[in-house]
Structure formats: structure tokens, C-alpha cells
Subunit: 323 residues, 6 copies
């Protein structure tokens, strides 16, 4: 991929990833009804980019909206939420929708999100060809689940999805699992991929973890950007880490960063509706240009970006891996 949004590493910065100097790229009030816009996903689309955005309105109702951009930094987000048509199910139903991800597989774009079904969160699933017409499919799993992220290609002939089984509240636990499907409707072969770390080994990811961006296939395996959470005496703190999963058997973790890649420190990450949150949901990359651009929600309030060299990020994870 070319035309990837990019800003070089600042002078005197030695970090493996760095923030965009114009952060946040999307303000909380960017559409007329919004209270906050964050935890959103983007992909290359036609000659530019498309995305699915979490916009909470001023009744603090959570919903997902389509948006378009020429440069992947300046976005036009629709003022009306996405409406769904029937995909592989008659069940087109959502009490609420949040934290979308978007994955292109074969011939279409798949959207996963946290879907309110009978008041309980689970993984919603839909596809689109054009970001205008969306086709909702069966929920992937039973409640309670969040952070469903599809791999961008079939693995051993099956679709593969990461997710985080949880409960119905502000869950203080959560590990990453993988599940497979022959048809995007029936799911099985559930395997545990990564668990939270012992406090003493890597405390930023000791309370819960969840998949972030769609995994990126590198020579080393799948690069998974994920969030990890620590519970301080003043609530949860969300940071971003990275892992390398085996190419053909992705429940096998080859490397996993002991240090975080990015953690709340900028003012727009430290203060907002939920202080101290860095929550990645998408990434653009160019292997050719060795670029990685990550989109993350900041403080559950705005969308921000961070950049890194793809090869450096992979190398950093390998060299700083939990044993």
C-alpha cells in the first residue's frame, strides 16, 4: 500500500512509536450529535480510505457510523448511523453497537463490533462492499464477549477471529481467544491465545487484554496490536502492546512485548470521559515503505494516531519479549 498517512519520528525521540503532532485527528464534537468519537477503524478503500467510527451521542448512546477520507487523517463522517440489511440471518438487531473493527477478506469488507443482544454484549458481524450497504450476519458467539477481530485471510481454510470472553459489566478480567469458522456462521475450535500477565512480569497488561487492530502478516508471523489494562487505585489504565503470532497456527504466541508500545501520557489521553485510555482499533501499513500508522481511541473521547517503522516494531517485540 502507498499513500499511507505519515509523519517522521521527532528529533530526540527514541521511542519505537510516536504520536502524531496534530492529535487528536477527530474531535469529540466532529458530527453535530456526538458527545465523543473514539475506538474506530479505517481501511484503504477505492482511491482513498473508508472507516467505521464509534460516535456516542449526547444521550450517550453508542453507535457506529461510516466515514470517508482522501488522506486517512481528515475525515468526513456520516451524520446518520449505519443501517443494516439481512446478511446470513434474519436477526438484524442491536441494543447498542461499539468499538468496531474492519477487515477486508477476499471480496468484501467485514465489520465486527461489540453488539448489544438482549442487553448482553457479544460480537456483531456484518459485511459491505461499498460502505453504503451493510449486511448483518449472525452474532459470532454467545454473550458475553467483546473485542472481536478477524484475521484478513483464511487460515487452514477457515475464517479466524480473536475475541475476549468476559461478563456483563466493567469486567476486571479477560484473555484473548481464537475461534474458527467454515462459513462465518458457525464457530468452534476455540483456543486460548494469550492470557493476562502476572503483575510482576508486566503489570500494564495484568488485569485484562484484548485484540486491537486487524493482525498484519509479516515475515515473522502475524503482528497483533492489542490493549492491556492495569487496575490502579483510581480505575483502569489502558495501554497498547504488540505480539507476534505463528503464521499458520495463530494460537501460538511467538513473541509478546513485555513493555508497552504506547501508554497514556498526552493530555488528550489523560483527561476525557474516561481518563488514561489508549485503545487501538486499526492500523494501516506499508511493508514496502516500512511504515505503520495506528488509530487509537484516547480517553474514550477522541481519535488519535501514532506512527512507527513496521520493521522496528516487530524487532522491538522480539527483543523485548516475555519469556
Amino acid at each position: 500500500m502507498k499513500n499511507i498517512p505519515w509523519q517522521e519520528r521527532p528529533k530526540n525521540c527514541n521511542d519505537v512509536m510516536w504520536r502524531y503532532s496534530e492529535n487528536p485527528i477527530i474531535d469529540r464534537y466532529a458530527i453535530p450529535t456526538s458527545n465523543s468519537i473514539f475506538n474506530s477503524a479505517v481501511v484503504p478503500f477505492e482511491d482513498g480510505f473508508a472507516g467505521v467510527f464509534r460516535c456516542d451521542n449526547r444521550a450517550v448512546q453508542m453507535n457506529i457510523f461510516a466515514g470517508f477520507s482522501k488522506d486517512a487523517i481528515h475525515w468526513n463522517i456520516n451524520h446518520e448511523p449505519i443501517t443494516m440489511q439481512t446478511g446470513n440471518t434474519q436477526l438484524v438487531h442491536s441494543d447498542y453497537r461499539y468499538d468496531p473493527r474492519v477487515t477486508f477478506i477476499e471480496d468484501r469488507y467485514w465489520i465486527t463490533w461489540c453488539n448489544g443482544y438482549e442487553g448482553a454484549p457479544t460480537i456483531g458481524l456484518a459485511y459491505t462492499f461499498d460502505f453504503k450497504e451493510f449486511y448483518q450476519c449472525e452474532n459470532a458467539f454467545l454473550p458475553f464477549n467483546r473485542n472481536g477481530v478477524l484475521f484478513p485471510q483464511k487460515i487452514n481454510g477457515k475464517y479466524a477471529m480473536l475475541s475476549r470472553p468476559s461478563d456483563n459489566g466493567h469486567t476486571p478480567f479477560g484473555d484473548i481467544y481464537i475461534s474458527y469458522s467454515p462459513d462465518m456462521k458457525y464457530w468452534g475450535e476455540h483456543r486460548c491465545v494469550m492470557k493476562v500477565t502476572p503483575f510482576a512480569d508486566s503489570a500494564w497488561q495484568c488485569t485484562k487484554i484484548g485484540a486491537g487492530a486487524v493482525p498484519i502478516l509479516t515475515k515473522e508471523g502475524w503482528l497483533l496490536l492489542y490493549h492491556g489494562v492495569i487496575q490502579t487505585c483510581n480505575g483502569f489504565r489502558y495501554s497498547m502492546g504488540g505480539a507476534i503470532l505463528d503464521k499458520n497456527q495463530p494460537d501460538k504466541v511467538l513473541y509478546r512485548s513485555q513493555p508497552y508500545l504506547l501508554a497514556p501520557a498526552a493530555p488528550y489521553e489523560l483527561a476525557g470521559d474516561v481518563p488514561n485510555v489508549v485503545f487501538p482499533c486499526a492500523a494501516l501499513h506499508s511493508e514496502e515503505e516500512d511504515k505503520l500508522a495506528v488509530y487509537y481511541g484516547a480517553a474514550d473521547t477522541v481519535v488519535s494516531m501514532a506512527f512507527g517503522r513496521l520493521s522496528e516494531v516487530v524487532k522491538f517485540i522480539k527483543e523485548n519479549s516475555l519469556s
Copy 2:
């Protein structure tokens, strides 16, 4: 079915179901290693009966054991737990196993239970032809789940299972869901069947509910015996209720008992390892003889039985149904 275990309603008893006068039928120490035997399932087998029993040992490790009986009241339970061979998976793994149910479908007996996988409870699945050789299959769902109960026949060409998504502790919430599978390996089409009731409507089932015995097909639909829980200031109290589900669309509840059918009152239900528990896991019935015999765990310590006239139980549920 004939030869159903039976005892007539006591004089002066007007209740729709009544306890067996020789309860408990299985003592907590019935096998040499057991601390308690409860929450167990039985089925007709050859010219008698077979069953799968939850026996916690004196390390309070939970496991399941096969057993046999001529009269369905006096049981010989194996002294060694069930061992598994590979069914449709290489993953023959259980941190722990508890609360089994047994269902005969087509040509074999299917066992479901709460299966510890990576320390997290989910629904284990296995089959047997003879209660000697057991073949473990893929776990049906992601954690966290309990009380998986299969229907005794395919519905609309698919296997159907009830379950209760939950979390990793003594969950104070839980509704009954149904899921379908074409092949006992991949599961989807998850639907909510019944939720807990408002406190003011039927308090004994206001905290959590879970499927109990394998559903029984009657003229009115599927008779589901289930447990309901209320949280008192001294902990949980488990009682048994009944519902009638639509024959062809069993996520549709036709009737559901507002009063309980049986609630803790006998000494062996009020005191034991967990006081105040009536927990049904199996039922034998004869439509011809109009008999229903329910097996339930009492106080998480012993196995007991209760009887009723099948037609009266169905009628009672209809006439005392929650609107």
C-alpha cells in the same frame, strides 16, 4: 417408557410434585473417594438405566463418573472417573468436570458438562454408545458458560443446546440461551430463550436461571425443568421451576411457572455443603403411565428424587404461567 421409578403422592399432599420418602437415594459417601454426589443425570439404558454422576472427591475436585442401575433408584457408580478418547478433536482436556447431563440422540448418548478449560468454565461435550467408551468433542462454546443441555432430537435439522453464559465466579446473574449446530462441532444462531424475572413477579427465579433436565416433548411443546435462584441475605437459594417451549421454535416460551415446582424445605436440602439447593439435572417420564420422576442435587451434597404426574405438571405450568 415403562418401569419408571415411582411412588404415589402422599395422602394430604396437594402439591403438584412430591419428594421420594427414601430420599436421598445416593449418599454423599456412596463411593470410597467421594465427599459428595449430586447434580447427576440418568437415562434408560439396555434393560435398565445408566447415568453420569458428579462426584466431588475429598480434595473437593469435581469429576464425572458412570453408573448403572436396574430400578433407577439403587445405583452402582464406578469408582474411577470417566476417561475420554478423541471424538471430533485432539483437545481432550478438562481442568475439572461437573454438573453432567445425558441425552440420547439418534444412535448414541451425548454427555454435556461444565468443563474447565484454561481455568475457565465452558460446556464440554462427549458421546458414548455403551457408557464404557467415551469420545470427547470440541468444547461447544467459548468460556464462560455453564448448564449446557441438549435437546433429545434435532430441531429443523440441527442439533440444539441450551446454556447459560456467565462469568468466572459465583455469578449473580444468568439467563438461558439456545444455540444450534449442523455437526456438533461448530455452533451458531444463538438466541435468548428466558431471562430472570423481575423480583416482584417471581422472586425465586429473579437472580439467575439455568436449564435442568433434558427437555421432554409433550403435546403442548417442550417441557423444560430448570433451576431458579434468589439471593437472600445469607446467600443463594436454588429452586426448581418448569416452562413449556414451542416445539419447532424452542426459543419461544409458551408458558413458564410463576410459582416454583419444588424448593428447599427437607432437612437434606436445607443443610449440606451448600445449604438451600434443589438442582434438577435429569428426569425420566412415561407419557403412557403419566409419570414424571426428577433427579436433583440437594444441598450440593446428595442425589434426591421427586415425582409428579406429567399431565398435572404441564397443566400446573399453564395455569400458573407468568404472563
Copy 3:
């Protein structure tokens, strides 16, 4: 009062109060629909006795029922709950009703109970002349409140009620307050009467306390029988204590028993729907015959009685009073 129900102190018993040997006097299934009958109140009525009884049905819905007796021990309880007509309000409304008390003042019997209003517990208030027609009045207070108990005569020209402000759950705190009203409609002059004790002083009443029976006027002042609660590692334990309040200024506690008068020890108190509960709601007394007969709920399941010599109980409280 004569004809008070009575049984002499057993030989070898040195306790200030003792249990009736035929306890429980009312079984949990005494009326066809009941799951449990407990926490109930009785008064002399015509040539015998009348009462208001808490009967939870088998949907575990809580309601109050009238009943009648010749000897105050054997009771006929109506099979239908009390229905209300309008008293001093149009608001005749109860989500649920439990833990009634009955007080005769001037020309009528007043009933107080815990009344569910908009899902929140507060003090319901009604009167009757004949235990057939009941007239519901304004709720005495805002939610959240329980254990409202009226004094049997006006104090300084005003009606007076004890109550225990609390919250909407299984409240782990609670003190006794008094409030006054000129007209049984508007309430004010709220004063704190008694608080829980420090753990080291009298642990059985260190978590919460609530008024029990209607206060009895003695030469020493008002004798208040109340319940106290300790939280053990297996839940709450409810016992009965006694206090003497100043005759003219009843927010002034003259004496208060450091030891309990009665605590769970009998089998029907140790096991039941809520183990370890002794909960007094009424008392009959004869100053002339020096008799006291207390009615208490046992294990939230049945009604039991305990007896004592009125003078001895008062003396015991004085001599064992918390400083």
C-alpha cells in the same frame, strides 16, 4: 390483659426468656399457597386475638394476610391477602408488602409494614376496625426504610413511629430513629434513638438493629424488643434484644441489653430459607400476671414463640445494660 398464651419456664432453665416447647406455632405451608409464614404480628381482638401475617407464596412474592385465633397459638389465616381501601390518600399501591406490625391506638388498629413503592421499600400505613376492612394511608416516609413500629399511644400529643432508614438492598447498616406526626399523614421531628454497638461491646448487634414489637409501657419506661444483626463469614445472624426508653421522651435510651435475650439455637432457627434468624414482630403481655409472650419469625420460614416474666425481662435489661 388476661388469657395470655403461656408456658412456664422449663426446669433447669435459667434463661430470662425461653422457647415454647411446641414451636413453631405456624408451619411454612399453613395456607395452601404459602412457601413460608414468618415475621408476623398479633393483638388482642374482641374475645380472642387477631393478627397480620407475612406469607410469601411459592413465587416468593411477599404479602400480608389477616388471621384470627381463640388462644393466640392456633391460628386461622385467611387464604387471600389483605385488600385495601382508601384511607387518607388515593395512593393505594404496593409492589410488595412484608414484616407487618399491628398497634391499637385510641379507636382502631394501625398496621405498618415494609411497602414496595416504585420498587423501593418504605413504611406502609393502614388502619382497620375489624380486620376485615382495611384503609391504606400515605406512606409514612420517603424510601428507603424498613421496620416501622408505632407507639400504642400519642406522645406529647403526637403519633410516634420508630423506623430504620436503610437502602435498597441487603443493607449491612441500620440504626433506629423516631419520628412524630400530628395527623398520621405528615411526619417530622426525626430523632436518632439507638445506633449499632461497637463490635467489642456487644457484637450481636454491631451491624444493624431494628424495632421489633410495639413498645410496652412499664413503670421503668417503654420496653422495646428489637432485633440486632452480626455479620459472620457465612452471612447475617439476627438475634433479639431489649431496651427501655424514656416514657415521655422515647428517643432517650435508659437501658439497653448488652447480651441478647434470644438468639438462633433451635433447629427451626438454624435452618430454613434464611438460616440463623430470630426476628420479633409482636408481643402480648399482662402486667397483672407478669407475663410476656413474644412472636418471632424463625429462619425466615416459620412463626415461633418465646416467653418470659415481664418484670424479669425489665430487670435483666437494667442489670445488663450497656453503659
Copy 4:
């Protein structure tokens, strides 16, 4: 009323209410002993304005102070807290005092606040003619209660007060009730006015709500500005909404805003002693000039102001009302 403090809507602002550009108007250290000054109330007084202010001192003891202003923006707050004389009671007692409101009725100014009585919060009540001499009355209710707000005139011949029954901690629940009194001493006829909303309908007010400013009589009915709370994974977030209550029967809600009117977004609202708090306690208005000026506590640290057109606010509530 004329002379209302005012600042026009900023250009490019489409919001129904907007912040004062010089916020906060009162700094946390505005008097020598203060740690924070917030949640305070103001009224027109003589040729200027008077107010009652919550000032926590540097021992973080909560108390209320009188203050005066010519323009309602720049305030002189007394350095000593308000002292009380006896009003309709001898009980002049406060463990602590916080969150005052002020209402002019007939001939005097009434102050309500959260009053610590025997360690428990309830509604304190006092009146003054001159903001120099204050006369404390009976607490309006039993504990536990907060956010008592009087209507500025009698309704059907009785005084009327809104309040929020709660418990003794950081209550995670709370609805708005109304109570009436013939004499400001005895209170009754308690009715539920508004409850929290389902999460899916209007999440910002799904955990607890409480009356804010003294209701304003408009042609549509009583305009009630109130606070609503959502519990995020990092604690409570307080926002401001509006409702229209029926003029003659104010427990009847005619309209209620689904979106909030103002929610934490400015730096002084996002950071402070308690982050993410917008808490209205008073409003000035001029129907003639169509102006509304709201005083609110920000982050439990400072006093801020927001403005709106009265007619627009009412219209906004009607057009964005919860069904």
C-alpha cells in the same frame, strides 16, 4: 428579573447551552481557608445578589457560607461559615453541611442542604430574611437523603420539595421524589417524579439523578435542571439535563431531555478533586429577556456558569424528549 449575568452564544456554537468564557467564576482558594468552592446557590437580593456557597476547608470539612455580589459573577464570600439560630426546632445540629440550594418563598429565603445528622446525610432546612441571621428548622426527612430542592411557591396550598433518597455512601443509585408539607415541619404525600433511564435510552443519566436548580415556572410547566450520572470504568461522570414538570401536579413529567444539556468537557471540569463533574445548583432567569444563567460546580473544585436562551432550552427539551 433584569440585570441577569449574561454572555452571548459564541460564534460557530450550535449548542443549546454554552459556557462562560471566564470560567471558573470562583476559584478553589477564593477564601483563605478553602480547599475548594463548588455546588453553590445564588438568588437576587436587594439591589444585587446573595448566595450560599459550599466551601470545603483544608481539613476537607464541608460547610456553607453566605456571599454577596453586585453582578452575580464577582462574589464576596464570608470567611466564616453560616451560624444558625433556632427556627421551628431546638435541634440546631450539623455534623457537616454541603450542596446548598436557596429558594425565595413569600417573605423569606429558604436554604436546603445535605445535613449530617448522627453521621447520616439528610435534608437540612433553614430560612433567612437578610443572609445574616439564619434560623434552622427540623430536618425535612429521615436519613438517608440528598439534593433537597424547594419549589419557589406553594403547590395546592402546600410547600413542595424534591429530593433523592439514597444511602450512606457513594450511592450508585438514586431517583427524584417529591414531598409536601403544610408547615415546613411535617412532611408527607411522597411521590416518585423521575427515575434513572435504561442504559440504552440515555446512558448519561442511567445510574443516578438528582434535582439541581430551583424549578423555574414557564408556560410549559416547571423547568427542572437536574444532574444525571453514568458509571464508567473510571468512576462517576455527572452531567446536566432538563425536564418539564406539570405546573399543578409536578410529579408528572411532561418532557425530559434524552441528550444532556451540558457534560464535562472543559479542562476545569475534567480535572480537579473529583474529575468529570458538572453539577448545577442554581439558575437565574429572565422571562422578559429570554435569558437563563446556570451556576454549577465543576470537578467538585470550582464554581462555573453556563448560559442559554430560556425559550430555546425549553424547546430543546420538548423536541428531544424521552418518550
Copy 5:
């Protein structure tokens, strides 16, 4: 030791330990003021036996009392609690005292108990020569601590004490530690001895554990009888297990029973002030006669006994040891 209290194993009993048929040996009301007598310790003394007993009075104040017996089964317990003189400290102070143990070392009897110091539980320490005069020493540790148990002889020239660091409530965690002292005043060299087990390995001891009886020196090492706790959905359940510690380095666990030795099953263990408690505090043994007699509190209400063959108990622990 001879004259050990004893009752042979019942016929048909295959358990390694069995209950005394006349249990409980001490009733809850055995002294005039007692509400309950349990968790108590006995030792051989002169030509009979002496003991220190936990008697909670009817204010549920916890205290310790001396008692004497000829046969170690029938006891005369003093009606007044133990009073203390100064030992190695001026601090003779106890808010409350409970769960005593008694150990004879060299020339005197040492008593340890849970001692309330500034409202916080820690380990109290005293000695006596005659069970009439008691000399209180420095508390062994800082709060919060419980279940301090001394070894009956010095180890490597130092006194040694087991204890369970904990917190100030109904602690849901707790491991056994050992500490050493040159002089019974200053303590150090703290080492972890045993931790709770993973749920899947031995659930009855997965929540907290604490030393029970004074360790018994056998050929295999120190036999430690201890309690283990599991948290069920209806509270804690306390059982008894056994471990063998290295003779010279007792923080080294040689064997530890995976199954329990005794768990609540008898009626007096299942019901009482705290249901489901077996809590050992003392043991008598005769290596010569191969007898072991254990004293344990049942249901926090009474004192009971269980017997076993010393050699069989040691063998059982070795053969059923956690790896």
C-alpha cells in the same frame, strides 16, 4: 503419653479419622454466660488435663477461659475469663481474645491467641505454669494476623511460630508463614511455609489456610493439622487437613494432604452460628499407643472430637500428598 481419650474406629468405617460418637463434648451453654464454646485448646497437665477455651458470651464478646478435666472429655471450665499479669511487657491489653492454642515448651505452658490490639487482630502471647496465674508478653507481630501456633520445642536454638498474615475483615485469602525468635519478644526470619492450593488441585483449601493444632514430632517430621477454606456460593466452608514439615527446617513441606482429613458433614457441623465449620485447635497423641485425638470447633458453636491412628494419619498424608 498415656490415658489419652479414645474411641475405636466404628465398624464399616474406612476413613482415616472418625468422629467421637458423643459429640459435641462441650455444649454451647456449658457455662452460665456462654453463647458458644468452640475453637479451644487442651494439654496434659499434672495427673489430668488443662485447657484454654474460647467462650463467646451472650453479648457475643469473645474471651478465653481456663478449664480442667480428669479424662480430657468432661470439662470444668471456669466461669470467669483469664486475667493477665505482666510477662515481658507492660502492655497487658486485649480488645478481644479468641481461638487460643496451648504449647508446653521446656518449663511452662505458652498460650497464643488472636488478640485485639487497637481494634486490629494480631497474635497475643502469654505463659503460665499452673493455669491459674498467666503472664502476658509482647504481641508477636504487627497486625493483621491470626492463627498463631508455636512449635513445642526450639528449632535450631530459636522459638518458632506459625501464623497467617491477613487483613481486618472476613479475609478471603491467607497462607501459613513461620517466624523465629531468640527470646519470645523479637521475631524475624519470616518464611512462607504453605500457600493455598489452586482450585483444580485441592479445592477445599483454595481460599485460605491456617495452622490448627500444635505440630506433633513424628519420625517423618512435624505433623501439622491445619484448616483449609473454600468459598462456596453460600459462604466459607472450613475443613481439616494435614501436612508433614521437615524436622529441622519446618518451612519445607514434605507432604501435604490433597484430600481433607475431616470436613463438615455431621449435624452439629452443618448448622450453628456459622454453618459448615470444622476448625482444629489442639490434639493429644500417644506415639506408644499409636493414638491421635483432635479437638475442633464445630460450626463456631461447640467443641467436638475426632480420633485416628497416628501412624495411619501420617501414612495417609504421604500417600495422598499434593505433588
Copy 6:
């Protein structure tokens, strides 16, 4: 001491202590691996200053690092954590290390810190002569403990340490105790020094308190700077107070500040990894120059400084003392 870092009180500032205008003095990323640097301790050393710093790395592992400075404001912190050699124990073991204090006694510098032992926090102890070689000693106490602070000289011939017994989580309770040792190995004579205050007396220190800087000997006694915590509805808030302890019997509190000396208000205190934290760990002082310079962690993220006149601080504590 001379050369104390210093900045005069700002004009118009009347506070007893004031912040350094260049705060924070140490940035969160001051060493390459750090996520945050805070809660650190400094002492005069040779012709400048040395310190021990808490640096959490980007795996959020907590560790302690040595550092050096000429002016006590600009610091060079080592990039590698402190390594330990054996002091008075073979147990050189730390799961984690945080919140160090440094005290010079007689001939060496003693370091105390919160030390992870078997996963449980307790007080680690080490000494150094040169801040290059460190010698780890026995942990001072059993778990669970935090905030161990040594006095700078023996008291009555014994070493003396303040500490805060606690539990294994984000403890919502905690008082300050003192313990003595003849040899820095065995500890005893534990005494309670100060407890949390009642909410109504001084709310900022009503939840937990802990020693901060090494006590400073003044003419009035030991000046102890400590932290106090209040629990708001959005978590804990840490402020700094001061107390004067008796010179020879330091468990005797002579004076204790009712108001705080410094509380979170600056931006770097209000936002960071844990908002609203002021946590003192060290102080430099010159009695001659009447100067006091305090080092405190801000928001668990950076190190900041505050200044005051030593005599004024003592006077302030005396004049604003809790009775």
C-alpha cells in the same frame, strides 16, 4: 546542613508550604526505560546529594534506582536498577520494589521500600555506604505492609521504624505503627502511633495514612510528614500532612495537623497515571537557615518539590492541631 535547594515563597502566597515553580523536577521519561519516576528519596551525600528513585519501566514493573546530584534538583539517575548483595540474610529476593526511603544512621545509609515477597508486599531493608554497593537484609515484617520509614537515630538504644500494616490489594484502610529492633533483624514492641481521623474531623486523612519522609528532630519533637487519603466517588486522593511526635517516646503524638499541608491542585498532580496524588517520601532541612524542602511523587508519574520555613511548618501544625 547548608546548600539546601530553595526557592522563596511567591508573592501573594499565604500558604505554609509552596510548590517549586519548575515542577516537576524529574520527568516521567528521565531514563530510557522509564514509564514514570515518582515516590523517591534523597539525602545529602559527600559534597552533594544521592537518592533512591522509584522508576516503573514500560512493562510497568516497579524497581528502585540510585541517582546523584550536585544541587538536589537536577539528577542523574542510573539506567540500571540497584542490585543487592547479602546483608544479614541469604534471602536476597524481591518480586518487585517500590516507594523507597533513605535514612542515614551512624555510619551508613539504610534503604527501606515496599518489597514483594512471595507475591505479598512487606518492608524490604538494605544498607549502603556509597550508593554503589547495596546489602539486602531480612524483610522487617511479615506481609502485608507498606511505607516503612526508619528514624535517623536509635531511640532508647534500639532502631525504630514506622510502617503501615495493610493487605494485598488497594487497601482502603491503614494506620501508622512503630516497631523496634536491637539489631535490624528481629523486630518487636509494636505500637500504634496514629490512626485515620473521623470523616467529620479531617476528611482528607480519613481513609488511610502512611509515614512519608524520615522524621526530622526539632525542638518540639519529631516532625513527621505523612500522607493521608480520602476516598471520593472517583477513587483515592492523597494529600500531605504533618505531625509532631514525642522525642523519646515517638508513639506519642503531640500535635497533628487538621488541615493538610499540601493537596493535589497543580496540573501535574491532577492528571497522570493515578490522578490526584501528592505523596511525600523525603525532605531536606536546615535548622540553621530555617528551610524545609520536600520531595513528593505527583500523580504516580513525576517527582516534584515543595518548600517551607521549618519553624513555620512546626508552628502551623501546633496551631492547627487535632485535639
